[in-house]
Each structure stands twice: as C-alpha cells, then as structure tokens.
Subunit: 254 residues, 2 copies
C-alpha cells in the first residue's frame, strides 16, 4: 500500500490563519517532516513521528519526505507561510524530476497557506493595490547580479516590490546593497514596510521613508514591501495605513 | 458606541481554505457587504443583514461599508481570494483617504485569504519557485500601455508572471494582445498554466505551451501563470506537475 506526501503551508504564525484542510491533513499524517522551528509550531495531538531538520537542507528534506511516502507513510512536509513561495514545494519537485520514475506516480498534494506577503499587506492596509513583484533576496542559489537586475526592472515598471529573506547571519550585506540601489534609482521619500513575524507575539511593523531605512531593520523573519511611486500613507492616531491606489493616470505612466 | 469594518478574504472557493479567523469574524458581523457572488458563498448561520452589490462598483461598496461601520454596525466586507490582491482593500483605503477625518479613527481590520495565485500554484506543483510578478490585466483603471510595459520588463527579468483578470465580456481583446506580445518576446515552448475556479466544482486546469494557447482559454475566473525560461514540466500518468527551479546558473542569467 502506498503512502502520500502533502506539502503544507502553516501560514505566518497564528493558528487562526491555518486553513481547515491543513489542520485536517495534519491529523491524518503518520509522519511530519520539516525545519524544526516550523514542526514545533504544530499543536495537533496526532502522535505522528516527527522528523526535524536544520534550516538549509531543503533538498535532503525533500528526499527524506519522498522516501517516507514511497515506504507507505502518510507524510506532511510542513513549511511556514505558503509552500510554493520561496519554500519547500520547488525543492520537492526538483527532487521528483531528478529521482526515480516511481516518484512520478506518488500521491503528492500541495496545500496553500497565507504567505508573509499577504499577512504583511493585511496588517498595514493595501500596499499591494497595484501590480507587484516578489523577489527572494537570498543569493545562495542565484547570482546577486540577477537580484539587482530584477530590482532595477521592477523599479522601472513602477511595481510594488516584496522582498523575502532580506538578511541573515550568513548574508549580512545584501540588504544594505538593496537600500543603496533604491536610493540611487528611486525617490528618498519612497515608503518601505518592514513587517517582522506578523501574527506572532514577536510581530513588529515599521512604516518608514527610504531615507530613514537602515540595513539592520531587517532579519530573516522580516518581509519588506517597497511601495511604488504612488503608494500613500494615511496617518491615524495609531499605526498609519499604507495603500497603493488601483488607478494609474495615463500621463504619469510613461 | 462605534462599530468596526473587517475586509476579509474568503479564499478561492472551497470552505476548507477559509481561515478560522475569517469564519469567526463572519459569525460576529451584524452586516455583510459584498459582490453578490461572494456573499452567496457564505454558509454562516449568523442572521446578519446582507448588502449585495454588482461587480463593478468597488468604491460605492467601500463607502457603504464605511458608512455602516460609522453608524455602529459590525461590518464584514467580503472578497474572494485575498482582499489585498486586486480586490477591495485598496478601494476602502482610497475612500478613507478621501473621506471624513473621523474614518481615520474607525476600527478597520484586513484579514488575509488564499489568493488565486497561491491556489493555482499549489494545484499545479511549484510554478512560483523563483521570483515572480503579479499583474492585473484589466485596463479599467490604468492604461493598456502600462500593462504591456510591465509585461515586457517582467519578461526581460525572467520573472514568472501571474496574470489576474485576463479577460471579460467588456474586455474581450486584451488577453489576445498579451499572447501576441509573449509570442514576439519569448520562446514558443514557454509553459502557461490556465487555472480556472480552483478548488470549486468548476475547477479546470490546463498546462499548455505558448504556441498552442488561444485567447478564449481565459475568462474572468481564470488565473494565468506564465512560466519563466527555466520552468519545467514533469509528466505523470495524470495532470503534469509544473515547477520553476530555485537555482539560476550565473552563466544563463545575463
């Protein structure tokens, strides 16, 4: 009897943002695989075997999950946010593509989750009200020059830009280079949102003009949204709202 | 006593993809406001007053919801997918920005939902495995020239591209122009995903090379994902998997 593999998204942190289908699936799994911080978030009473791993071993983790499913286990491979946005789904399909033919007939499912982009947007208003890009700032798997090229093109197109994985201990300097690029190629009043650990008790939101941004405002738990030229702030007695208008004046879009 | 306004995302269609916080909030609302097709999806037994409206009256709907909250009602403004992605959140904050000062002290919350982009990605594998853009193909509120400019820049940056609102009765020709632009500026084997009404009983997924795409494959319920130059297909006995590798070879990214 063959097992299954479900790659599931736990959302940004709060259990109130985990979809019912993910909760249901966690109760049916015989084995739970994932980065230890994410597996520790699971409160299900299901006595599934838990296979913890470190942060930077995505492909090994994918092989482990595929092997367990091949052995007949019902495997939940857990990720934070959404599995398809800079998380484990791509690693699993890379492994399937390179692996034995039998893996192509495995029962594999991907269950979406609330990705950091959506959580940060909701918490601050509607910064993604117009067309946007999402860029992973980690250069572990792609050249830094490509990240800068994509940032420049996104600025040229006046996209709102969401940046995942801006800064880590192993990559302390990348985000400083991004700020310098923005300072060269956009206006100093451009609005940035630093949304850290949204929906958890460590949540911290900052809405700051580009000229006041510092590299150390970001870490691996921060999602950054760079407003486009039209992004506006609504001052309130508390945290301001940020939104990007849906309309673009034809005169200003050339 | 003042009310509140919550702008909430119902996800793509399945109730198993509605977050618990959205379900909870729907049970507490005194008034539910929204496009009629979305309000009809709500199965809550809460006898809230339902205020239905047509599809193309976003700003009027936002004013209605803000006025009800000002009058002390607890208002759920419902959207499909996520409220911040080409949905109602931006319209509400546009209205707040232009409206009376008192609206700035209203209790407004935005609750995220599974947007079509995540649902379509999950159903087909991991097409968003590398950096991506999301572009609203409706030119109701922005010039068509800007849409084409953004598409060209996104192709130049080798982003994966998600297209919302590709085609409607009022805009029958835009998507045909997009296909022509793609045929001019990318390769004819480029992979496209047409994901219609994901997670509903009307779900229909097509994975097709660019050279075989036709304009009438899209309608207003279709989310289109245009793969980048690296996007790969894994053939299976059923629907193929689609993924975009996380790694980019430095030699190929110039």
């Amino acid at each position: 009897m063959s097992g299954w593999l479900a790659i599931i998204g736990l959302g940004p942190g709060s259990s109130a943002q985990i979809t019912p289908e993910v909760t249901q699936l966690l109760s049916e799994a015989t084995d739970i695989v994932g980065y230890e911080s994410y597996v520790h978030r699971i409160t299900s009473r299901n006595p599934a075997v838990r296979h913890l791993s470190g942060n930077r071993v995505e492909l090994e983790r994918a092989y482990q999950a595929l092997n367990l499913a091949t052995d007949g286990k019902n495997v939940a491979l857990v990720t934070s946010g959404d599995p398809g946005i800079f998380a484990m789904a791509a690693a699993v399909f890379e492994a399937v593509d390179a692996g034995p033919k039998t893996w192509r007939s495995l029962d594999i499912r991907v269950l979406p989750g609330i990705t950091a982009l959506l959580a940060a947007s909701a918490r601050t208003g509607a910064p993604l009200g117009n067309d946007f890009c999402a860029i992973n700032l980690s250069d572990n798997l792609k050249p830094w020059a490509l990240i800068e090229k994509r940032l420049r093109l996104a600025i040229d197109g006046d996209f709102v830009i969401a940046c995942y994985n801006p800064r880590s201990n192993a990559r302390p300097n990348g985000f400083a280079k991004v700020l310098k690029l923005l300072q060269r190629e956009t206006d100093r009043k451009r609005t940035l949102i630093f949304a850290r650990a949204v929906s958890t008790k460590h949540e911290h939101i900052q809405v700051i003009p580009l000229e006041d941004c510092r590299p150390d405002m970001a870490d691996m738990q921060t999602l950054i949204i760079i407003g486009n030229s039209m992004t506006r702030i609504i001052e309130t007695t508390g945290q301001p709202w940020v939104y990007t208008p849906r309309s673009v004046d034809p005169e200003k879009s050339q």
